[in-house]
Symmetry: C2
Subunit: 221 residues, 2 copies
Amino acid sequence: MSDNSFELYAFWRTSATYRVRVALALKGLTAKERIVDLEKGEQRDPEFLKLNPMGAIPALRVSNDAAPLTQSLAILEYLEETAPEPALLPADPLGRARVRSLALMMAADTHPLVVPRVRKVLTGEHGFDAEAWKAWQTRWFTTGLQAMEQRLAAEPDTGTFCHGDRVTIADICLCSIPAVMQVFGIKAEGVPTVDRIVAACNAMPEFADADPFRQEGAPAR
Amino acid sequence: MSDNSFELYAFWRTSATYRVRVALALKGLTAKERIVDLEKGEQRDPEFLKLNPMGAIPALRVSNDAAPLTQSLAILEYLEETAPEPALLPADPLGRARVRSLALMMAADTHPLVVPRVRKVLTGEHGFDAEAWKAWQTRWFTTGLQAMEQRLAAEPDTGTFCHGDRVTIADICLCSIPAVMQVFGIKAEGVPTVDRIVAACNAMPEFADADPFRQEGAPAR
């Protein structure tokens, strides 16, 4: 299976799928998208579970002989290793550590707190109504972006993008948060460095084309 | 600063610090530990914030000229790149993607849901008492380990350890969850493959010595 026959199991609005879409585009790779409609619970369909028993998206099928790859950051590292140009990590170990640390602040510290399975527990068992859930989302999105702001504004390696003047996986993970915040009508205030870098990314077609509202299955904005 | 003068900002019981302790030990590296007592709020002391403005541990200082590294998975990747032997990732990209995916199921999908800042919000603002918090912890620890069980039991690459017969960062992240579950008196049932692999790891001194109860500042078990 060549890279032209990658298959990406995806849904229009998820933050983790967005990351993979951007990385594929930046690497000049294409993937045929297979929609897994989370609203309809298609991630639990037997056919999909045969492919990915975890019922999780994104999942990137890179070979007919191998299980699809899962976990967005693991997929980004795979793409970096197998399609090294353009590089999405800097060359030096300290720089790579900084970029990965920034990426994890979004993908590990922030996003897992606001996913559907957490909403299901808080609304189903702890009495969260729509307003309380939105406040919960807003809190963790904002906490995450403010922590990013603090680092990006203070650290000397910040440039046009999170790390110098080239896009890295830190930018992809950073932009994946506001990309879904807009889906839920949430905006973080007081994060000017974040806003500047997100705007720089969104001026690139690889980011702009990954906007959730531009994906198949998305509602009109 | 040679590797002998690494400094690890640490606390006895945290899952993410455990991961760094194990990785350093497996690489044959040592770090002087600087205790940041989370019970006393020392992560917010001005002196520590000068070093790491995020007030987060673990933080690994590898050079007097660079800010400490943060985020356990970023630190593990740094150690892998700068001290490649013994390898904690397989050589092939598909294997590396599988190992990173398993690691992220623990470090990103599971652990961030049960950290102190989440406890603070749920107990302080949403009426969680001690019992409700423990049920929350138990739910997410168990969900995470059952998902690991499902993959480890089904996937052909599972061996003595998560991926074949050599320890990888997947094992480190897997073991970091039961290591803190015991601190809170929580045990997951029905995960025999997980239990087998955790036991194989804990038979190694590099894992056993990282047990939270063996660290400076830990209470008697």
